[in-house]
Amino acid sequence: MKPKAEAVIIGGGVHGCSIAYHMAKKGWKNIVLLEKGTLACGATGRSVAGIRHQFGTEINIRLAKESVRRMERLEEELDYDGSIELMQKGYLMLAYSEEELDLFNCNRDLQKKIDPENLTEILTPEQAAELVPGLNLEGLYGVSYNCRDGHASPFHVTQAYADAATRLGVNIRTGVEVAEVKKEGNRVTGVVTTGGEEISTPVVIAAAGAYTKTFGEQVGLDIPVTPERHQVAVTEPLEMILGIMVISFAHGSYFKQTPHGSLLLGVGDPEHEVKDFNERPSWQFLFDMVKKTTFHWPALREANIIRQWAGLYDMTPDSQGIVGKTAVDGFYLDLGWSGHGFQLAPAIGQVMAEIVSGETPFIDVGCMCLERFERGELIPEPACV
């Protein structure tokens, strides 16, 4: 007889683990989470793991506000015996044109309208240089800054959710890859692993980033998601000299210091990236990255790079997540976060648990449904790298 589960979650990134925890907390029994590698080994663990309020669409502003608030007390909520390494020293977004500064102003207004407690402010280049001594002001029109934005460890946040989920009875299985999602009529009936094991279940939640596309095809859904490689380099640990995450959308570059002291330096090159699942780092990235980041902050020239890696964004046409139920009964989606997924996992985990339980989610994510692409109702997020 086939083993049965009330629900199967595909993907052991921060989203899969957050969903597992929130579902178990709502009383779901016999949840199985399948991860083909180890927890957080994909996009989650490869991200630079920023958390921020500064978004430009209503839905992300709501999700971000709730998620930051939860990150602030996550260790307590999940009774985690480690540290999630939360650091809130702000995000600084650099505007290199009048238009970009206008956009930041609009985003700030929208953030304040939705959340009166939002702390985002628009600063002059000179004020920015006070926050980041040595910042190159050449070509800079202004910056958007929020002091409550920050960083958390992607490994520990994921592990904290996983540990809490396990204590509530979730069966987390790593090293188990799903080969196929099974469907009969218009309803999912189970999953088959690459090892040939079949688990029957009426509910499948796919949270496998860009890999989710294949599972969609198996049940007859077209999920418009493509992998896009992004790369990061890390320096040796230094004294705390830069608490703030600095981002330039115009250059696709960003850099920050982690609580551990190492600086993370990232650049995306969407224009030239082949859209495949290549997760290997490249030399070209190092050249591009040092050029851009030392332009913003010349002091970086003296830092030692000790390691570089790559990870995959799961890009959608409007750079927004795809969330919720689908036209196939029992098949749910949580993917497509296009580079800002880690930070929204606390809120989305609960949203997904409520949707799967047939309840109205505490944040309305209806606009993030898969059908929006067919209807042409895109919700482009302007504030992402």
């Binding site: 040796e236 050249f287 003296e302 390691r307 570089q308």
Partner: protein, 89 residues
């Protein structure tokens, strides 16, 4: 003794730290690296990688050769940003 034996000199991890993590059920060297930072420092695990593998092997009864090795990542040795800049200009 465990408390005083350094396994990862860059990240200041002791044998006790590593054994405690293994005891929690983490038997994959990659997982241990991510959770403890073992091997993530400036020397990139040149000493601790083997020590970590041996500890996992002896705790699990497996052979070192059967364990998943932590990933070797470029540039292998620390390089100053300004040295890379010389290649750009």
């Amino acid at each position: 003794m465990e408390e005083n034996t350094i396994i990862c000199r860059c990240e200041d991890l002791t044998l006790a730290d590593i054994r405690a993590t293994i005891k929690k059920g983490f038997h994959n060297p990659q997982e241990i690296k991510r959770l403890t930072r073992c091997g993530m420092g400036p020397c990139q695990g040149s000493t601790c990688r083997e020590l970590l593998l041996k500890e996992v092997a002896s705790a699990t009864g497996k052979n070192v050769g059967d364990l998943e090795m932590t990933t070797f990542r470029p540039p292998n040795k620390p390089i100053k940003v300004k040295s890379i800049m010389m290649g750009v200009e």
